[in-house]
Point group: C2
Chain length 493, copies 2
C-alpha cells in the first residue's frame, strides 16, 4: 500500500494508559467475578451506564480540581454541548437515578464495574484509565444502608481470598468534622473543603504538615507553596484533637466504645456531630450483629478525596503485607472506599434523595491480591499445540486439535510459518504442556508423536526427582486413535 | 448545599449512548462468557488495550470517513497530540503487536472484548458506544489462520446456543475484486474503495442501485446525490457479473465447487484473483475437515465496511427468525465479521506482518439471541426480602438475611424507608420469591412470618391450577430457627 510508505506512525500508547495481558486480566476478572457474586447474592442488580456523560451532569467533585473540566477527558459534541468521560461510577449513577427515579423500585440497589478515566498527570502505577467495581443504594437514608455497604465490602474482600487481619474497613463520618467546624464558628465552616484536604494528607505529611495546611499553608521540599485553610492556632488544635481520637482509641481495650464516647463528649452538642454519632452507633450495632467486627474500625482520620460525601465515609485498607525480591516491604494501602452522598441526585431533581455506596479499585486490588497470592484466579487448562509438520496437511491438524478440544483440553494447530524447531519453541513460549507431531513418517504409520513439554521443563529445571520420572519418556509415539486418551492419562499421572 | 439551588443540570444522557439494565447485561455477559470460553479453548490469550490511542495510530479505516478525525471521538492531550477513542479492537491490536513485536510468541493469538466508540449520527438501535468481542492472529500469513477464524466464529455461535441452519458465515476475498479491477486496467484499480462501497450497498439498494454507484452516481429518494466510482458501462458490467456469482451458485447442487470453478475461470489469470482462489481452496479444504460445512458459504457479495482488509473477508449472519408481537418478522442480519488485514501492522513497522481476525458485535448479537430465546443466560437465584418491620431491630434483620445468603439464596434486608405495605410492594417489584417478616408479635413468639410472593403471583395470574396449590397458604409462620429450611423446602416443592 502506497500510504504505508508515505506516513509511518510510531507504535506507542498515550501516556498513562496501559495494555493488560493475560496474567493481570485473569486476576482482575477473578476479582470482579467474586465481587459481582457477592453483590448479586445481596440482591444488587447489574447496571452499566455509558462512558460519556454531559460534563454538567458529572459535576465537579474530583480532588484538587480548579479549572473547568480539569481532571476529566472532555470534548464538545456536534451540538456544542460538553461531554466528558466518567471519572467514577457514582456521578453517572446519580444521573441515572434522577433520570429514572419514578420507575425504580426504591431503594435502588445496583452494582457496576467498568473503566473510569481521569485526566491527571500519570506516574508509576498511576494510570489515567482504570477499572472500578461499585455497589450503591439510592433512596435509603438510614444508617442501615451504610452498615450494609461496610458489611458488603468486607464480604467482597473475604470472597477475594482475604481473611481476618488481612484488611480493615475504616469508618468515619464527615458530619463529625462539620460538628468541629460548627464549634469554631461560621467562617471556619466555609473552609470545610480545605480542612478536609488537609486531613486527607495526614498519612503523607504527618500531624505537623496537616497543622500547617490547616493554618497559613505549607511549603514543600521543592519550594512549592500550598495555601492553607486559614484557621488560627486554637481552631487548628481543635481539628487536630478530633483527628487524634483515632490514635488514642487504638490504645484502648474497646476502641469503638472509646471513640463513640469521646465523640459524644466533644461533639454531642453540635447538630452535625450529634446526628453523626447517632448513625455511627446504629452502624456499629448492625455490624456487630453480623459478627464481623474484626473487619472494620471507627477512624476519625478517614476523609476520602471526592467532594460529594455528606455523611459516613469508608475506606478499605489492606493490612497483609508482601515483600519484594530484595526483601523490602510491599505496601498496598487503600484498595477502595465510599460513603454517603445525599446531595448528588438532588443536583438534578432539587429534592433530597439519600444514597450511599462503596467502590473498589479493581486494578490496584487485584494486583495486591496477586502479590499476596490470595486470589484464586483459575489457571487455564493445559495447552496442546499441534505442530504443522506438513503444510499441505493442515486439514488433518485442524481435526486433531478439534478432537483434543472436544476432550476438554485447550488445543490449537499451529497456523504460523516456520520449521519444526520454531514451532516447538513457540509451543514452549506459550507454556504448552504437549506438542503433537504428525510428520510423513507418523502419517504413513498411522501414529502420532507427542512431546511432553511440561515434563521436559521439570527435568530441565531439576525441580523433580529424576528417578521418579525416568521411566517416562519425554517423547513417545501412540496410534493416531489413541492420542486423546494418552494425553489425558499423562495429565492424570 | 447552596450550589444545588444555584445550578440544576438536567438528568439526561448524550445522544446515542444507552444505559443497560440487568436483563440486557445478563444476556451480554452470557454471550461474552461463551465466546471467551471458546477462544480460551482454542489457545487464544486475553488482552485489553486502553480506550484511547493516538489518532495517527488508529488510522483512517472507517467507512465513509472524509474529514480528519471524522467518525471518532478525538481530543488533544496536554502535549497537543491528538488522542481518539478506539472505533474497533483491531487497530489497537495492530499498534500493540507493532509495539511489542519482538517479545511476542508468533503467531500472536489474542481475544479481547470491550467497548468501542463511533462518533456517528445515532439512530434507533444505532449507538455511539457498543461492545465488541474479537479474536485475532498476528503473524500468520497462510489460509490456515483464516480458516481457523471461520471455524472459531462458527463454534462461538454454537456456544451461544445457535444450531445448524440458524446462521451462516459468508466468506469472500477482497483480492477477487482486485482481480476484476486488474482486468479493467489501472485507472479502475484506483477506484477500489468506491467500488467496494458500492457493492457493500447491494442489500439495501439492489443491483440497479449498485450499478449506478459503480458508474456516474446515484440520487436517492430525498434528492441527495452520491458520487459514483466512474466506471463505464462495460466495466460496471464486469464487476456486477463477479458479484452475481453468488446468486448463480445458490442454485447449484454444490455451490462451493461452482463458485471456485467460476472464479478460477474468470479471474485465474489475474495475479490477485489467482492468489485469492488458491487461498479459498485451502480454506474450504480445512473447514471441510472439521465437518462444519453447513455453517459457512462462499459469497462474492461480501465486502465488509472497514478499509483495512486485504484478503479473505468474513461476515456472520443470523438466519433464524423471530416475530414481533404484531406478527411482523424480526430481521437480525449481520452480527459480526472480519478478515485478513496484512498491512495494518506494517503501517508502524514498515515490514509486512500478516494478520487476520473476527469480531462480534456483542450488543446486537446478544439482543438477537434473547429475542430468539437461544442464549442460556442463567436466571438469578430466588430473592428473599427481609422486611424492616421494627426499625430499631435492623441488626436482627441483617442476621436473618445473612443466614439466608449462607444457605445459597439471594437475600437482602430492606434498608429503605416506608411502612410494611410499601416494603412488600418493593419486594414484589424486585421479583422476590419471598418476603420475611418479624414484627413485635413474631419476635415475642420466637417465630417468623413468610409471604410466598411467587405463589401469590401465580394465583393472581391464574397461571396454575388453583386446587393444586390450595393447601399451600400464601403466608405461613415458622419458628425463627426453621426459617431457612422452610424456604428451601418451599423452593423445592
Amino acid at each position: 500500500m502506497a500510504k504505508t510508505k508515505a506516513f509511518k506512525p510510531k507504535a506507542r500508547r498515550p501516556r498513562g494508559f496501559e495494555d493488560r495481558a493475560a496474567d493481570v486480566l485473569r486476576a482482575e476478572r477473578a476479582l470482579v467475578a467474586a465481587a459481582s457474586g457477592v453483590y448479586e447474592r445481596w440482591g444488587f442488580e447489574p447496571l452499566e451506564t455509558p462512558a460519556f456523560e454531559y460534563a454538567d451532569a458529572l459535576g465537579k467533585f474530583l480532588p484538587d480540581e480548579e479549572r473547568p473540566n480539569e481532571g476529566v477527558f472532555a470534548l464538545q459534541d456536534d451540538d456544542e454541548q460538553w461531554m466528558a468521560l466518567r471519572y467514577d461510577l457514582t456521578a453517572p449513577l446519580a444521573r441515572f437515578a434522577a433520570e429514572n427515579f419514578q420507575n425504580l423500585a426504591k431503594p435502588f440497589r445496583r452494582y457496576q464495574f467498568g473503566e473510569v478515566w481521569r485526566n491527571e498527570k500519570p506516574g508509576p502505577g498511576r494510570f489515567r484509565q482504570f477499572v472500578q467495581c461499585d455497589a450503591d443504594s439510592v433512596g435509603a437514608g438510614g444508617p442501615a444502608a451504610d452498615a450494609e455497604m461496610i458489611a458488603l465490602a468486607a464480604e467482597v474482600m473475604g470472597a477475594a481470598g482475604l481473611t481476618e487481619g488481612d484488611f480493615l474497613i475504616r469508618v468515619n463520618d464527615r458530619r463529625l468534622l462539620d460538628g468541629v467546624l460548627e464549634q469554631l464558628g461560621d467562617a471556619a465552616a466555609e473552609k470545610r473543603l480545605r480542612v478536609l484536604r488537609a486531613i486527607d494528607k495526614l498519612d503523607r505529611l504527618g500531624l505537623e504538615g496537616v497543622e500547617q495546611l490547616l493554618g497559613a499553608g505549607r511549603k514543600d521540599e521543592s519550594g512549592d507553596f500550598t495555601e492553607g485553610a486559614g484557621l488560627d492556632a486554637g481552631q487548628a488544635a481543635k481539628v487536630l484533637s478530633f483527628v487524634e481520637i483515632q490514635s488514642l482509641a487504638a490504645e484502648q481495650a474497646d476502641p469503638t466504645r472509646f471513640t463513640l464516647d469521646r465523640l459524644t463528649a466533644t461533639l454531642g452538642e453540635t447538630s452535625s456531630g450529634k446526628a453523626a454519632v447517632g448513625d455511627l452507633e446504629a452502624i456499629v450495632d448492625m455490624l456487630d450483629a453480623l459478627g464481623k467486627s474484626p473487619s472494620w474500625t471507627l477512624d476519625t482520620t478517614v476523609v476520602r478525596g471526592l467532594g460529594y460525601y455528606t455523611g459516613p465515609v469508608f475506606e478499605a485498607e489492606l493490612l497483609a503485607s508482601a515483600t519484594y525480591e530484595d526483601g523490602s516491604p510491599m505496601r498496598f494501602g487503600s484498595v477502595g472506599g465510599g460513603g454517603r452522598y445525599d446531595d448528588l441526585v438532588a443536583r438534578f431533581t432539587g429534592q433530597a434523595v439519600p444514597a450511599t455506596g462503596f467502590s473498589f479499585g479493581v486494578s490496584r486490588f487485584a494486583a495486591a491480591l496477586s502479590a499476596l497470592g490470595r486470589l484464586d484466579a483459575a489457571e487455564p487448562d493445559p495447552l496442546v499445540v499441534v505442530v504443522a509438520a506438513e503444510k499441505d496437511r493442515m486439514a488433518d491438524y485442524f481435526r486433531l486439535a478439534a478432537e483434543l478440544r472436544a476432550a476438554g483440553l485447550r488445543a490449537e494447530s499451529f497456523v504460523g510459518g516456520g520449521n519444526m524447531g520454531k514451532q516447538l519453541k513457540y509451543a514452549d513460549r506459550r507454556g504448552a504442556a504437549f506438542a503433537v507431531i504428525v510428520g510423513s513418517e507418523e502419517r504413513e504409520a498411522g501414529t502420532v508423536a507427542v512431546k511432553d513439554l511440561a515434563l521436559g521443563k521439570r527435568l530441565a529445571e531439576k525441580m523433580t526427582d529424576r528417578s521418579e520420572w525416568e521411566e517416562r519418556p519425554q517423547q513417545f509415539t501412540v496410534p493416531r486413535d489413541g492420542l486423546v486418551a494418552a494425553i489425558l492419562e499423562r495429565l492424570q499421572g
